[in-house]
Symmetry: C2
Subunit: 547 residues, 2 copies
């Protein structure tokens, strides 16, 4: 059991879904990285645009990193590539559609010149450093997704990224059962697998059930149909096109990212939509309402998306009409339920109709549910199992499923991001913890805000701010004039009228009464007074000048 | 169709669930009010403790208000009573348990002396002004709940508050089918009914399914069982006590409100728990772990609840142990999913186990689902139907269900809070809109914060604040000394080091360069500079003094 044969498996990121946005495999002096995606901020991460994993560990060993392998083209797997290649510019291994989607994204962010690609195909393999990586097809809610069989001297590891066992997917390309069986026959030392739906019993329905639901909605809608989904949900675009053709509607696409993605997918033949089926949005807006389907983003209630703006009446190019039917073709991402609910209420208030996945089967998950997860475990019969792609509660649930199908408890390892796992001598064990957390992106550059800033924002958000500006006479230490008091987010103008003169009085007493020793004391005095009067605790700041 | 025979139905509050927290019925000079509850703030209502309906319309007509009828003892129906009776002190009609729970709550808030009660019983009726109000029993997730048949010269109206058709409820007291049939035989002019679960197909399961699930969890748990639920979910307490007795555990209750509520319910015989089954929490903490069940609050992930504190390791009286099993006996209220998910992850991280309603049937809803809603409509066969207790999307869904069972579209009316509905000449129609919105409660008194303050808080929360303090020479208008710059929630100390000197320089240029005309101009200059440099938009404030 020499140290030379140690494979280190390193999930990167903060407290989010383990190894989903970035995972590294390290053997000797070779590191391969799988996926580089973003996370969306929680509701209490105030003002954060998005989050990327902290990959300082990899930056320090940048000379050992041999490649970045991307399993599929969703944001949570590709969104951080632009930041990654700024620091570690290695070849990006991706299938044709995934590559096309990444290129589009890099182009929109002006980073396309930095990327070097190696196009791969399901069924092929690459030798990267001491790793042999075999790519095999999995069905997911985007075409051309792959998972990985990673062979190193430490053994054979399967990295099962986002997948489902759809027997009748839209692209007619199911998950590669044959390859899984072949790998099982070789003997799999460790299986890592997607836990997203580990809390969902049963079997995720096939994408095929969406077709009839779309046909019905399209046929029954009196006016326009507006379909909102994710810009990267390419298979859904095919289904909309098919239903539009069947019901005598033309299809228009609104929004840059979706337009770009569809263009790439059509060029590469992952979408089969005849030219005459697609009309520019400007033309669609002048057609008869019942002849039109508009596809756009905003199914998660994002205020800045097209559906978000339509619901608020602030979309520039077009507005909702009372006969419109808005279809939200997605399922709420946890944390978005409230925003989506409000968006639906707003659309209904504007007179249009809304159909979501509670009303009709117009969405299915792209991830395996419990029965599929158990099937995978039984197909592969791995020696060891490590659930990934989930928060702790999903991983624990997935671990329980694995025990149910007979994997021994001691052969299952559940860790969170930052905890290294080692495969050595055909055994798995905990390695060291590496530093690393979320990196928040707000505005221009990465890492400009941290947990301390978030704490200050949260304090400002809860109770607002009160500002005291005092000018002292250099010699006497007494006030030169009355203190200026400003507040934001704290009290109404009516309340301020009675409260602020009292605050001013207390500041003057504290300063001129001789009791003024420091700004800190003054802040404490005013804070307790404000809490006593209002039971609220605004942030109190003092600016002091002497003349 | 004289004006004299007009019944006005007035749902009060903001954009929340229609008529859930407060509803008024006005006929001539008589007004009765049904329920006075609170709402919990949305995630974007920063710093708000809770929300009550704006009832200024009623305050203006206080002389006409004859009574406040409370349908059951949940917070969203009783939580605003203390504020209501401050302004409109009329008799409160409530069943014994509901009255007991209200009294406990008023006592905790020192408002008990103001309340005058009239105790009612299901099966009885009251004449209040020109109204005759008949109370009939409904099963819900709290015992002693009633709904109302309200007769006025305008006709017979059924106000169906929170209910379900549980055939085997814990208190063995199902919804009064006989009364509903009797009312139907009399002819119901208008049915108002609970829409909470209008998006949920099928039939809500009976509370009875929880018993076996509890028995299993209690029997299998190696250590303590900690059950979190709502303080007012009295039936759940009975079920926990029963399962504890069956599995040889004693029960302890932690938390003032739950202790109070259980005391009231036991005294009034709505809970049948032998004395020897209940032990004080201090005693429970010294018993063998597998002999104990602790009930407490916190099933919604509230950080200040006992389970919230246990998950964070900040509970004073006791801490989590690795063998503990925490049971979250409730379903996420929309908007709380993220907080609950994080709480579960934290508990698991501390080594305890968690069981929620995804894992075992340890919770059922207290509200009728679609099949029950249709059954009610078919039982009552009302002339008109008005869905209540739901956001717009649930009301619209409920309206569709009503059409499915044969109520004509023109006899269904869907409105939001503030929109008066009139029943006159046996017809329903829209009345006027009355002013009214949410009243936010933050800290001591009500209505101290408004939408403007919320907007300021939201701006502070997104990007923080930058503060510029300048002192000018009275005569020359030039700076007396370098401006002071403070930030909170905006940039990290490292970023501040390079950014703030540049800001200072620009302030000095703007003021001393002769281009300084107003604080507003200065703010704009700095705002654009900050946005150009960081792509963020902090709030910028200037304090200016002259000497």
């Amino acid at each position: 059991m020499s140290k030379k044969n140690k494979l280190r498996i390193i999930p990167l990121g903060g407290l989010g879904e383990v190894g989903k946005n970035m995972m590294a495999y390290e053997f000797g002096n070779d590191i391969i990285v799988v996926d580089a995606g973003i996370m969306f901020p929680d509701n209490d991460m105030l003002g954060v645009d998005y989050i990327i994993p902290d990959f300082q560990y990899l930056v320090k060993k940048a000379g050992n990193v041999r490649g970045l392998i991307i399993t599929h083209g969703h944001e949570d797997h590709i969104g951080a590539i632009q930041h990654f290649i700024e620091e570690i510019n290695v070849p990006i291994y991706a299938t044709p559609l995934t590559r096309g989607l990444i290129e589009g994204k890099l182009l929109r962010n002006n980073s396309q010149h930095k990327a070097q690609f190696k196009t791969i195909q399901a069924g092929e393999s690459s030798n990267i450093g001491q790793f042999k990586v075999e790519y095999f097809h999995v069905s997911h809610s985007i075409p051309d997704a792959v998972s990985l069989a990673i062979t190193s001297p430490a053994g054979l590891v399967i990295h099962m990224s986002d997948f489902k066992f759809d027997q009748t997917p839209v692209d007619e390309w199911p998950t590669d059962f044959g390859k899984l069986s072949e790998l099982a026959a070789r003997g799999v030392d460790l299986l890592l697998s997607d836990s997203t739906n580990a809390e969902r019993p049963g079997w995720t329905p096939s994408e095929q059930i969406i077709g009839p639901a779309f046909n019905k909605v399209f046929a029954e809608a009196k006016g326009r149909v507006i379909i909102a989904t994710f810009a990267s949900l390419i298979s859904r675009v095919q289904q909309v096109a098919d239903a539009a053709a069947k019901t005598g509607r033309k299809m228009a696409i609104a929004g840059t990212s979706m337009v770009d993605n569809v263009k790439v997918a059509r060029k590469l033949k992952y979408l089969e939509i005849p030219d005459e089926m697609i009309v520019p949005i400007e033309q669609a807006l002048n057609m008869q309402d019942h002849k039109v389907v508009i596809m756009c983003t905003g199914s998660q209630g994002e205020p800045s998306s097209i559906v978000g703006r339509l619901s608020a009446g602030t979309n520039r190019q077009f507005d909702l009409k009372p006969n419109d039917t808005v279809v939200l073709s997605s399922h709420p991402i946890p944390g978005n339920e409230e925003a989506i609910g409000k968006t639906i209420n707003r659309i209904l208030r504007r007179g249009a109709d809304v159909i979501d996945d509670k009303i009709a089967p117009i969405h299915v998950s792209g991830h395996a549910a419990q029965e599929e997860q158990k099937l995978l475990l039984n197909l592969v019969r791995p020696k060891h199992f490590m659930p990934i792609h989930g928060e702790l509660r999903m991983l624990k649930r997935h671990a329980k499923l694995a025990m149910e199908v007979g994997i021994e408890k001691e052969n299952i390892i559940v860790v969170e991001n930052g905890q290294v796992v080692e495969l050595v001598g055909k055994k798995i064990m905990l390695g060291e913890r590496i530093p690393g957390d979320y990196v928040f992106v707000d505005g221009e550059s990465i890492g400009d805000i941290d947990h301390d800033i978030m704490k200050e924002r949260s304090q400002l958000a809860r109770n607002g701010i009160l500002l005291i500006d005092i000018s002292l006479d250099k010699r006497s230490g007494r006030l030169l004039h009355e203190p200026e008091i400003l507040t934001r987010g704290f009290v109404t103008p009516e309340e301020a009228e009675t409260l602020l003169p009292e605050v001013r009085k207390r500041v003057m007493q504290a300063v001129n009464g001789g009791g003024f020793s420091s700004e800190k004391d003054l802040i404490n005095t005013i804070r307790s007074y404000l809490h006593q009067e209002t039971k609220r605790r605004p942030m109190v700041l003092v600016t002091l000048s002497k003349a």
